[in-house]
């Protein structure tokens, strides 16, 4: 079980990232809880400058771009094993 947080203030890219991450989790067969973080102070507390940010189990994995679905799957697998 992993916790996935999507960091963003509601720009189109954030919504796209959320959809992509959900797809990735489903395809990889990983049980994940999704959380949207749109409070700017909380977003910054992860140390990222550019939204959207992707946080899996409290580790920042990407910021300022939409990573590929394959890449997200890889991160999900890694986080679910540790």
């Amino acid at each position: 079980m992993v916790t996935v947080k999507i960091l963003g203030t509601g720009c189109p890219n954030c919504r796209k990232l959320e959809a992509l991450a959900k797809e990735a989790a489903e395809e990889a067969g990983i049980e994940a809880v999704f959380q949207k973080v749109d409070d700017i102070n909380q977003i910054i507390s992860y140390g990222i400058f550019m939204t959207p940010g992707l946080v899996i189990n409290e580790t920042v994995h990407s910021s300022g771009k939409i990573p590929s679905k394959e890449q997200i799957k890889e991160w999900l697998l890694k986080e679910s094993q540790s």
Binding site: I40, Y46, G47, M50
Partner: protein, 349 residues
């Protein structure tokens, strides 16, 4: 009834005229350039100058011009500001970025120059850069004690290379597109202009075929489309509103408030600019309408500088990020310096 039809007609005419004159030659290339900047240029290369240990002087310089690359879409400005303020180089460079960002991005520069004239377009970009640094330095000076105390509980910034490199191919591609924008909007005769534009477009197509991965080009087109979808509808509303303003606002009012380049007129312009909300780029057609109604160039620049930099909603968001006191200080500085910039510009021209 007749009045209403007249007013709506003015809005409609502004819209049609606008679509014919500015969309193809100015906005289409500008959107493609903005999309290309987002896709091809490495933002991490710029962000590293905003890190907590970055050279302070360099950070101000980079912050004042980096809006060109980082502020392509206005929704990225506030998170970046918050990041630079809390995690990175501190309040000074963050404020510098916040003030210059909306004026210095490629869409704003191209569009202002096209609609309001090259002179006012350049004055806007130049004024934004110079005064953003001054305001940033002043904020850093006012809050220097707090900044020094902040160093201890720093958050680790998340910065990794995003895999993009800014090499000659990318710069070449961008230069080609800027050339298209310049040629298409330049005042040269049609028989020379359009073949030249066609040649440059061929250049861009060849470059995208030989210099880039297919995937990158796809992202570029997608980003361009997204930006256009986001901005164009708001812009059309802005243009329509500008048409209404032209029909409704008596020129004598405009003349009496901001018709001459006085300190008071500039103050009125920058103060109302701070309170008003302009969606991305809509400030440009509205200021054009006011200029046609008799607004002086000085107050026009004051409004151009203060307008997009602040609005009531953005003040609330800023208050949440850096607290009420600092926000008030920033608002006051923006009003003062935008007034000053407008007044100086009005005196020169």
């Amino acid at each position: 009834m007749e009045m209403l039809i007249k007013v709506l007609n003015s809005g409609w005419q502004a819209l049609v005229e606008y679509l014919l004159q500015h969309t193809v030659t100015c906005l289409v290339p500008a959107f493609f350039i903005a999309g290309a900047i987002f896709t091809f240029i490495s933002r991490e290369a710029v962000l590293k100058y905003f890190g907590p240990n970055a050279n302070k002087l360099l950070a101000y310089g980079v912050a004042s011009v980096s809006g060109t690359i980082l502020a392509v879409c206005s929704c990225t400005v506030l998170p970046l500001f918050a990041g630079i303020f809390r995690v990175g180089a501190g309040i000074g460079p963050a404020i510098t970025f916040l003030y210059s960002g909306p004026a210095i991005n490629v869409l704003a520069i191209a569009y202002s120059a096209r609609l309001l004239g090259v002179e006012l377009g350049i004055a806007r970009a130049f004024g934004a850069v110079v005064f953003s640094i001054l305001i940033g330095l002043l904020m850093a000076f006012i809050y220097r004690k707090e900044e020094a105390a902040k160093k201890q509980n720093a958050i680790q910034p998340f910065l990794v290379a995003d895999g993009k490199t800014t090499d000659w191919h990318r710069l070449g591609m961008l230069s080609l597109m800027v050339a298209i924008l310049l040629t298409a909007t330049a005042k040269i005769s049609a028989p020379i202009k359009w073949p030249l534009v066609a040649l440059e477009i061929t250049g861009v197509i060849l470059a995208s075929k030989f210099w880039f991965e297919k995937e990158e080009i796809k992202t570029w087109i997608e980003e361009t489309r997204k930006l256009a979808y986001q901005i164009v509808p708001l812009l059309l509303i802005g243009v329509f509103l500008a048409g209404l303003i032209k029909a409704l606002l008596p020129p004598s009012w405009v003349a009496s408030f901001v018709g001459k380049n006085t300190v008071l007129a500039n103050l009125v312009a920058s103060l109302s600019g701070t309170l008003m909300y302009f969606a991305t780029l809509t400030e440009v057609p509205i200021i054009k309408a006011l200029l046609e109604l008799g607004m002086d160039k000085g107050p026009a620049l004051a409004l151009l500088l203060a307008g997009p930099a602040l609005s009531l909603p953005s003040m609330l968001a800023l208050g949440k990020i850096m607290g009420t006191r600092k926000t008030v200080a920033y608002v006051i500085l923006v009003v003062i310096f935008s007034t000053l910039a407008g007044y100086l510009y009005g005196m020169i021209t």
